[in-house]
Point group: C2
Chain length 345, copies 2
C-alpha cells in the first residue's frame, strides 16, 4: 500500500493491482481484453450484460478450466473454455448466444501469455458465432494459483420441439460417435509430461454447435440424447446415460475409432482410450429409423467425417455399459472412478 506505483511503462507481468477493481484493472480490460474479444475498447464496463434472447427456453451452463499446461498441441485454455461451454449448450439443442469469461490469474503471470489466451477466446468465440458479453478478473498472490484458471458460463436459446434428454432414450436406439476418441487427453498429457511420440498428437478441441445442429436437423425428434464426452471420456458419458436411464448400453469396440498414435500412447501409459477426455466429439443416441440420416449428416460435416455407429441401447435392466471386444468377448465398462487424468480440462 505504501509502495511506489510502477512507472508509466507497462509492466510485462500481471500484478496484484490488475485484480483490485481500480484503474489498472480497467486499463487491462480496456487495452488487453476487450479489443481481443472484438469489443469496442471504449465500451462502458458494466457488471451485467443485457441480452435480448427472445422467447422460449434458455439453456444455461458453466465450466471452470484448470488444464495444465495452458498451451498444448491443437489448442489452449482459451479455446477450451469457449468450446467447452458452447458444446455443453449444443448437446441440449441450444445455440450459444452469449458467454461470460472470468479469469483467476497468479501474480507474475506473463502478460503476453495472458493476451495469447484472450486472443484464443476471441478467435474461437468469433468462429463459433458467440459473443463474450461479461467478465471478471481476479489476481491472487504468487503461489495462490497455478498460473491461470478460466471460467466460462453460457446462455443459449433451445430450438423448439427438440425433446432431448435421457428420459427420451428407448431400447433399440443407435449410438453414433462423431470421430476418433482420446486425442485431447493424450495431447495434454504428452505436453505436460514431456512425452514425445512419433508424431505430435493434437487436441480435438472444437466447437460443436454446427455439428449438433446438423444432427438435429437431419434426425429431428429421432435424436434422443447428445453429449460431448469430455472428462472421463466415452466411458463416463455412456456410463452416465446407462445409470440415468437404467438401460444396458452395448458398445462395439472395433467400431470405436482411435487414431494409431493415440492408441500407442494409451498402451504406453496404461490408459483405456474409452476413459480419455475429448473436447470436440459428439455422441448421439438416435432412434433406429433416423440413424442413417443423422450419420450421413455427421459425416458430411468437417468435424464428423469419421462418424460411425458404435453401439445400441438395450432393454431396461441394470444401468451399465457392455463392451463387445475386438477378440469377441464382452466386458463391463465401469464408470471411471475419477483419478485417471487430473487437470485435463
Amino acid at each position: 500500500m505504501g509502495e511506489a506505483r510502477p512507472g508509466t511503462e507497462r509492466d510485462d507481468r500481471i500484478l496484484l493491482a490488475h485484480g483490485g477493481g481500480g484503474e489498472l484493472m480497467r486499463e487491462l480490460i480496456r487495452a488487453d481484453i476487450l479489443p481481443r474479444l472484438g469489443c469496442d475498447a471504449g465500451a462502458v464496463l458494466s457488471d451485467s450484460a443485457l441480452l435480448d434472447l427472445g422467447s422460449g427456453r434458455t439453456a444455461f451452463t458453466t465450466d471452470s478450466y484448470v488444464v495444465k499446461p495452458l498451451f498444448f498441441p491443437g489448442g489452449d485454455i482459451g479455446t477450451l473454455a469457449v468450446c467447452g461451454t458452447v458444446n455443453d449448450l449444443a448437446v441440449v439443442g441450444a445455440e450459444a448466444a452469449a458467454l461470460s469469461l472470468a479469469f483467476i490469474v497468479e501474480e507474475g503471470f506473463p502478460l503476453d501469455d495472458f493476451r495469447r489466451v484472450v486472443d484464443s477466446v476471441g478467435r474461437t468465440a468469433s468462429q463459433a458465432g458467440v459473443r463474450v458479453v461479461t467478465g471478471d478478473v481476479k489476481v491472487v498472490e504468487r503461489g495462490g494459483a497455478d498460473g491461470l484458471f478460466v471460467n466460462t458460463a453460457g446462455v443459449g436459446k433451445v430450438a423448439e420441439g427438440v425433446p432431448l434428454g435421457a428420459e427420451h432414450v428407448l431400447p433399440g436406439d443407435r449410438i453414433l460417435l462423431s470421430g476418433p476418441i482420446g486425442n485431447h487427453g493424450i495431447a495434454v498429457l504428452s505436453a505436460r509430461e514431456g512425452i514425445a511420440f512419433e508424431t505430435t498428437v493434437r487436441s480435438d478441441v472444437a466447437c460443436l454447435g454446427d455439428l449438433a445442429h446438423a444432427a438435429l436437423t437431419a434426425g429431428g425428434e429421432g435424436v434422443h440424447w447428445m453429449r460431448d464426452p469430455t472428462r472421463g471420456g466415452l466411458a463416463a458419458a455412456l456410463g452416465e446415460l446407462a445409470e440415468d436411464t437404467q438401460v444396458e448400453v452395448t458398445v462395439d469396440e472395433t467400431a470405436v475409432s482411435v487414431d494409431p498414435d493415440v492408441r500407442a500412447a494409451c498402451e504406453l501409459l496404461g490408459l483405456d482410450p474409452l476413459v480419455v477426455a475429448n473436447e470436440g466429439k459428439l455422441v448421439a443416441v438416435v432412434a433406429e429409423p433416423a440413424a442413417e440420416n443423422v450419420l450421413t449428416a455427421l459425416q458430411d460435416h468437417p468435424l464428423g467425417v469419421k462418424a460411425a455407429p458404435v453401439g445400441f441401447v438395450g432393454e431396461s435392466g441394470p444401468g451399465r455399459v457392455v463392451l463387445e471386444t475386438r477378440t469377441g468377448g464382452r466386458r463391463l465398462v465401469e464408470l471411471p472412478y475419477g483419478e485417471e487424468l487430473p487437470r485435463i480440462c
Copy 2:
C-alpha cells in the same frame, strides 16, 4: 493411476478424483452438493440447465471469488458468491432467476469446510429467492490453488421500462448510499491478518435484490444508475461513473457513514474507507424530484436503515470525483489504482 482406490469409507478430504468426471465426482455432487442447494439428490446431472425466463431483456453476469480467508465474520466465500452475483443483476434492475456455481478446489481441502461453503450457498440463494441450476467441480493438486475458489454466473429478467445506465445520469442528480461503508473489507482483512479490534467488525455481505427493487419501485424512471460498491469501494464506483459520463461527482465526506470500528481500523491500517470494499451496499443516482421517495424507500428496508444522500452530480466536464472534506476543504478522489486490498472478494 495404479493406486488402490480408497476404501468404501468416505474420506474427509477432497481428492483429485473428486474432479475427474467419474463416479466419485457424481457422488460428491449427489451427496454433498445437490441436497445442500435444495435440489433433488436423484436429479439427473445435466451439463446445461433449461430455464423459462419469459420474454424481455435478460441480464447476464459473472464473478469469481478468491477471498482469503474463506470464512470471515459475517459470511464466507459461499455467501459472497451468491450475493455478489445477485447484486450485479440487481443494480441493472434485474431479478436474479438462476445461478451457476463452479468450484476449483485444492486436493486435500477438508470436506467439512466444502460442505459448509455449499450450505452457505444454498441458504443464501434460498433467502434471495434464486436457484442454483448448473455447476462444475474441478480439483487441482496440492499447491495448485489456495484452498477453494468459487465462480458464480447469474441470469435474470430486467424489469421493463427501467432505463438504468450511466448514459441516463444528469447534472443535478442526487447520490444516495444505503449505509455505512468499509465493513466487508475490514472484516476480511482483520480475519486474514489476525488483527483484533475492540469489537469484531462483521462483513456487510447481503443480497440487494429487494433493496434495489424497492428503490426502483419508489423512484421509477427517476432512478438513473445503481451500483454495489465492491472492490475499490465507493471511490471506484463513483470514479467509474464520473469517468464513463464525464461529469464531476461531488461527495460530502460528513454524509458518508463509517462505523466507528471500521474508521478506527482504517486509520490504523492507513486505508481510506472510500476505497474499502463493501458487499451489501447500494449506491443510487436519482433525479432530484425522486430522491426523497427513493431515500425513504431505502430507509424503510432493513438493509437501508442508515441510507443517506451523500452527494450530487455536477455539470459535464472532467470526469472526476471531488470530496468536500469534514474540515471544509475539497480534494480529488482518485479512482484507486488497485493494489489496496488483494483477495477481498
